[in-house]
Amino acid sequence: MRYRPILPAILCLLIGLSAAAAAGPIGIGVGGGLNLPIAQDDAGSGFLYGARLRIGVASFAAVEPCLSYLRQGDSEVELHGQPVVLDGGQSTALGLNLILGSVGPPGGMRVYGVIGLASHAMKQEGTDDQSRLAISLGPALEAGVGPNLALGLEARLHMISLDGGGARKNIGLSGGLIYYLGRQGR
């Protein structure tokens, strides 16, 4: 088992520092959606879900510690005339997202970019468990549905590094709710 505790430790430190630096709204979000593998013969379409804590550090930037679970669908292959279903794998990720764009108090419709760094604990039948670094990025859309509540949609490319080089690439299409703490208003 290859596990590097240094990555989660760095992420925990960053989460602590970012919470201390909060200058904007703080929100708690949950969401889920589809996890679509790109160029991976050994995986099918799966799902993902997770929780996040959004901490506004400026009117145009926020950091977001997050915990996510990504499941890749099983794949099927035919051997000796028999179909065989093989595990597509899964990973639990602890990460930190950087949000750049419109991240002030909720209200109206807004668009922002998400860039994430995460440590993925990966499991797949027939392979050793691994802890790998991942980068994700993509656009997100948020619509206020109440004074403290917003509905978010996000399309993100997750690139999970592999031992030796290359990466597993997944498109995560997800939606969720984010609840902003305290009294909000533009």
Binding site: L79, H80, L86, G101, I115, A167
Partner: protein, 227 residues
């Protein structure tokens, strides 16, 4: 007749009331101005700068991850064309040559790693006592006794129990539990060519694997993109 119909249609279009035309034009202008204001809000001030920085960061991340972006995980299935056995003091090995596989041949220079190896085959035990099948790999195709195999080849699969005068089918999904020395097997697969031997773990060492044994290799190859 046809010309008359077209003329009447033009006349009907021409009779759209002026109020309706103005209302339509106004709503169009309104929509365009809203769009302009949303865009100008998005592109100006600190948010616009943040968007610009986000764009630059995304480009930098993508630029730094070209081998990640250009990587693919592929699965190939390789079937052994001949049987391998140790019967009546005779040993037959099977040659594994991934160059026979077109997908492997196309990408072998860009392979960054083998992610998973699985296999599926029948094992036959012709003896009157239970046996445990073992698989060895070697670049030497002239190993002639079980002792030579155990001494000079690398054990890669072990613990496959086969009852006396019976056979078992090893399913791909369960196959990984029999692996030993996976790193060496991986290295040999990347080199692409070796010989596979199968013997029973104890005397009389007799065991047989019929042809069409299948190996599945999942590997990643990466090609750097040039922008």
């Amino acid at each position: 007749m046809r010309g008359a119909t077209m003329q009447s249609t033009r006349r009907e279009r021409g009779t759209i009331p002026a109020e309706k035309r103005f209302a339509f034009r106004e709503s169009l202008y309104k929509m365009m101005s809203v769009r302009r204001s949303v865009l100008s809000k998005m592109m100006s001030g600190p948010k616009g700068a943040a968007g610009f920085v986000a764009g630059l960061l995304i480009l930098a991340v993508l630029g730094g991850c070209t081998s990640w972006l250009g990587s693919t995980t592929m699965r190939i299935t390789y079937y052994l064309e001949s049987s391998l056995y140790h019967l009546e003091n005779e040993i037959e090995s099977a040659e594994v040559d991934l160059q026979d596989n077109e997908d492997w041949q196309d990408h072998r220079d860009d392979v960054t790693g083998i992610n998973r190896i699985l296999f599926a085959f029948w094992v036959i035990n012709p003896t009157t006592s239970d046996a445990t099948a073992q698989f060895y790999i070697s670049t030497d195709e002239d190993l002639a006794t079980a002792q030579q195999i155990q001494d000079h080849a690398t054990l890669v699969l072990d613990g496959i129990s086969v009852p006396a005068q019976d056979s078992v089918y090893i399913n791909a999904r369960d196959s990984y539990q029999y692996f030993r020395n996976v790193d060496e097997l991986t290295d040999r697969l990347i080199e692409g060519q070796f010989h596979l031997y199968c013997i029973s773990s104890s005397a009389p060492f007799e065991i047989e694997v019929p042809d069409s044994a299948a190996f599945m290799i999942e590997f990643t190859f990466a090609v750097d993109w040039e922008f």
